[in-house]
């Protein structure tokens, strides 16, 4: 029942055999060694497992690996291939994270937002990251960092 799928992962072609019931998150982490997406709730509610599918943020914990055959997946590893992005630098500057478990998902979600809407207001930022839970920080420094980037460019 194994199927071979091919997709682009962070710009590189990947070919791998998967069972239909394997989740994208598990394939990325356990079989391809891409560890930035995290397993939080495992049911689409916390955003820790966020990856970009053709540029759009999705929950890899409720996506079957087989669904991404022929598609393009980007994780944090791909995002920072050429060094940290402005957004990541801003997160650093603001000390946005503590444990960092939510950081990859938060970063990808905010990246998607800024690409679609380079100058979001604070309400739009809050709305965009509403599905990315952070259990450490209280969100303030995360939002401030995104606001900073939204004022540039």
């Amino acid at each position: 029942m194994k199927r071979e799928i091919k997709f682009t992962l962070n710009g590189d072609p990947v070919k791998i055999e998967v069972m239909p019931n394997e989740k994208l998150l598990d394939v990325l982490r356990d079989r391809l060694g891409v560890k930035s997406p995290k397993h939080g709730c495992g049911r689409g509610e916390c955003g820790a497992c966020t990856v970009l599918l053709n540029g759009k943020s999705i929950r890899s914990c409720i996506t079957l690996a087989i669904e991404v055959d022929g598609q393009e997946i980007t994780t944090l590893e791909g995002l920072e291939k050429n060094g940290m992005t402005e957004l990541q630098k801003s997160f650093l500057q603001h000390n946005s994270f503590q444990c960092g478990f939510c950081a990859p998902g938060m970063t990808l979600t905010a990246t998607e937002l800024l690409k679609k809407n380079p100058h979001p207001d604070e309400e739009e930022i809050r709305e965009a990251i509403a599905g990315n839970l952070c259990r450490c920080t209280g969100y303030k420094n995360i939002i401030d960092a995104i606001v900073d980037v939204s004022k540039k460019g």
């Binding site: 239909p20 599918l53 979600t109 709305e127 965009a128 509403a130 990315n132 839970l133």
Partner: protein, 293 residues
């Protein structure tokens, strides 16, 4: 998650053939935001999962002057990003924005939302007040079911194995109207509704009211609509309408709210929604998408 076989047909006909062959043992996959969770929990263990994302015609989102056609593959974020949906179908637009979070809305579809048929389906009240029609592909051609008859109970619809919803079509409104969808949740992002209410008010004093999350299935409040017909929304009329409207619902207690709270707050929200719709009709209401609770 149990294993299953997987097919990704490229035509509806092919999909129906596979679905017919497996019957109850097959499940349809579009966004998967519901299905994969249910399979993971062991609630569903299909032998075959039919991924519909390879069927080009299901991706259609189009307004032809008469109907808005929302194909089965259209995601909530595609609806939110569509200018014609925002302009001509603002209650659907407003409701779409309340569904979970952006990372879910990039995959979750409106058609999937109604096919899952959970009582709290956010898209349902908006479709109910707009008189939407569900177009179902079967081996013997298409059949159409009004949304008011589509839901039959919690997680149950008129669909049988081998039938695939290909689109929802929503008639255009002629004439001015204002509408609103109010979702009461415990917090933003991901939470299911404790109560959802959609209303529409037209310039001819025609009213539509629908609820989700407060009955075994999303419902219209026909009796209250009848009562309101032709009336002005005075405080007394609103009060009476809310009383009649909640007769259409039969909420239960669950982890999100008690039955008593739901019953009470449904009355409050229906008044608030009618007021918001009325002020939007007159061009002096809060912008669509603005917080109403």
């Amino acid at each position: 998650m149990n294993n299953f076989d997987y097919a990704k047909p490229s035509t509806l006909k092919e999909a129906i053939d596979i679905y017919k062959k497996y019957g109850e043992k097959a499940k349809l996959l579009m966004g998967g935001t519901d299905l994969v969770v249910l399979m993971d929990d062991g609630v569903l263990s299909p032998e075959m999962v039919i991924d519909l994302k390879g069927i080009e015609e299901l991706k259609k989102l189009e307004f032809d002057g008469e109907y808005l056609h929302i194909g089965a593959g259209v995601t909530f974020n595609e609806l939110i990003d569509s200018p014609v949906v925002k302009e001509k179908f603002p209650v659907i637009w407003e409701a779409s924005r309340t569904v979970a979070s952006t990372g879910v809305r990039n995959k979750a579809t409106l058609v999937g939302n109604i096919c899952s048929a959970v009582p709290s389906a956010d898209s349902a009240p908006a479709l109910l007040v707009r008189g939407a029609i569900v177009v179902i592909a079967t081996e013997n051609g298409d059949r159409e079911v009004p949304i008011t008859e589509f839901f039959t109970g919690p997680r149950r619809t008129v669909l049988s194995p081998g039938e695939i919803v290909k689109e929802v079509k929503v008639p255009a409104s002629n004439g001015k109207f204002g509408g609103s969808y109010i979702k009461l949740g415990r917090y933003d992002g991901e939470d299911l509704a404790q109560v959802g209410v959609a209303t529409i008010v037209t310039e001819n004093k025609d009213y539509k009211i629908a609820f989700c999350a407060v009955a075994p299935k999303p419902v219209r409040a026909f009796e209250a609509e009848e009562f309101l017909k032709g009336k002005d929304l005075t405080d007394d009329v609103l009060e009476e309408a809310a009383k009649i409207a909640v007769k259409a619902i039969s909420p239960i207690s669950d982890i999100r709210a008690s039955k008593e709270y739901r019953l009470y707050v449904s009355g409050v929200l229906v008044k608030r929604s009618l007021k918001a719709s009325f002020s939007r009709l007159n061009g002096n209401g809060p912008a669509y998408g603005e917080r109403l609770v």
